[in-house]
Structure formats: C-alpha cells, structure tokens
C-alpha cells in the first residue's frame, strides 16, 4: 500500500482547519454549526487512519462515539438556533448582543 499514515493525518488536518475557519469567520449560526460538523468529521478521519496504522480497534471505537456525540450536539444546537430565531427573528450571530436577566 502506498498511502502513508502522514497523508491521512494531513487530510484530517486540512479538513479540520477548513471547519475551524468556517466556524470562526462565518456569522450565520447554521454555518457555524456546519463548521463544527466538518471538524468532528476530520477528527474521525484522523482516528480511523491511526487505528489502521497501529492495528488497534480503539480508534474506530472513538469514531463511533464521535458520531453519537455529533448527533446529540446537532440536535441541541439546532434546537437552540430555532429557539433564538423565534426570540430575535434572526440567525446572525452579530445580532445577539443583548442580555436580559
């Protein structure tokens, strides 16, 4: 096989920082959540490559848990977005500049 471990890690790193840039630079809440999803997916790729490199199944088990975590995070995150959109009728992160105690 001609694919080295480093190339898989590099693919994961490129995807991770794409997601990070998306989550930091976008102002739309849904795009921020999409950036977080991309980051979690990149971590899954890196873990699967490590699992193959060291010939241990632990990495794949972590990817399984990452998937469950991503599902839970998206459910709560989208519910929060719908809630705040109902309150302020906007999904732009810059409009959330008021606190009400």
């Amino acid at each position: 096989m001609t694919v080295s471990h480093g190339e898989v890690i590099m693919l994961g790193a490129v995807l991770f920082f794409m997601g990070a840039v998306c989550a930091v630079s976008r102002r739309n809440l849904i795009m921020i959540l999409i950036g977080v999803e991309v980051m979690l997916n990149a971590a899954g790729i890196a873990l699967t490559g490590a699992s193959l490199y060291w010939n241990a199944l632990d990495g794949q088990a972590f990817v399984l848990f990452i998937m469950a975590f991503a599902a839970a995070e998206v459910a709560v995150g989208l519910a929060l977005i719908v809630y705040s959109q109902r309150r302020t009728s906007s999904v732009n992160a810059d409009t959330y500049n008021l606190m009400k105690g």
């Binding site: 096989m1 190339e7 693919l11 999409i34 009400k100």
Partner: protein
C-alpha cells in the same frame, strides 16, 4: 493493487477537500448542506478504504442521512428570509484563513517528520462483528454514557423546541 489503493485514496481526498471547501464558502445554506453530504459520502468510502466498513455504513446513515437531513429541515423551516446570510466583509475571513493556513503548514511540518519513520500502512479490514464485540467488551461503559447523553440531548431539544410559555410571551410583547 497497491498503486490502485493509493490512487483511490488521492481521488477520495481530492473529492472530500474540494466539496468541503465549497461547502464552507457557500452563501446559500442549502447548497452548503448538499456539498457537505457529498463530502460525507466520500468520507464513508474513505472509511471503507481504511478498513472500517461498519463506520462507513454509519457515516452514510448518521452523518449524511440523519444529521444533514436535520439541517435541511431546520433551514427549510426557518425559511429563506431569515436565513439569508449577510455579505462577509474581507477582514472577517482573511485573518481566520491566515491562521488556518499557518496551522495546516505546522501540521505539514510535523507530518513530514512522521513520514520518515513509517511509510505505507498495512491493508486491514475490521469486520463489523469483530468491531462490535470489541466495543461492547472494552467500551461498554462508554456506550452506556453515550446512550445517556443522547437521552439528555433529546430532552433538551424537546424543551427548547416547545412553544414558549406565558412568561416568555410577555417578554416578547414588551419588546419594541
């Protein structure tokens, strides 16, 4: 055979990186989600290539099937009017992109040092039966914790999603 393996890997990597790059730069969120589904399907094939067929199936079912469809539901529910993103100013994305490029460069430096020690991973495949037995023998407690986490997330999503009670409606009315 090994050359074919590497070729498939590079093709999949190109598809994943390009579709993810398109997804994170789209103005229209529906387009972004569809590009991201493409990226996740490529990732599923990559998981199969890296010897994880069960994870490949779960990637299609959970990520591309469930999570992205949930995104589409929410985008459609909120309608195009409120979900229209503002136009990004240049200084909003130039600085994060520079930071991202620096981080990728640093990761590349580290990876080139890793590649000197080990090049060429073995071709292996963990069958779903072996993988499932491994997870439930070694990580049974984490499986229980994750099931609890999913339950808590379900309750939280239901609580946030229900119609506002009368006190919240009062606050809403007070707003100009």
């Amino acid at each position: 055979m090994s050359g074919l393996y590497g070729l498939v890997f590079y093709m999949l990597a190109a598809v994943i990186v390009v579709s993810t790059g398109m997804a994170v730069t789209r103005k229209n969120q529906v387009h972004a989600v569809v590009y991201l589904i493409n990226s996740f399907l490529g990732t599923a094939v990559l998981f199969y290539l890296l010897g994880a067929p069960l994870l490949a199936a779960l990637e299609v079912i959970i990520y591309a099937g469930a999570i992205m469809v949930l995104f589409l539901f929410i985008i459609m529910t909120m309608g195009p009017g409120v979900s229209e993103p503002l136009r990004l100013r240049v200084r909003q994305w130039v600085f994060p992109s520079m930071l991202g490029f620096f981080c990728v460069g640093a990761a590349g430096l580290l990876v080139f040092r890793v590649r000197e020690s080990g090049d060429g991973m073995p071709v292996a495949m963990a069958s779903p039966a072996v993988f499932g037995r491994f997870v439930f023998e070694r990580y049974w407690f984490a499986v229980e914790i994750v099931s609890l986490l999913l339950f808590v997330a379900l309750v939280g999503a239901l609580y946030l999603g229900k119609k506002e009670d009368s006190a919240a409606v009062e606050i809403q009315k007070d707003k100009p």
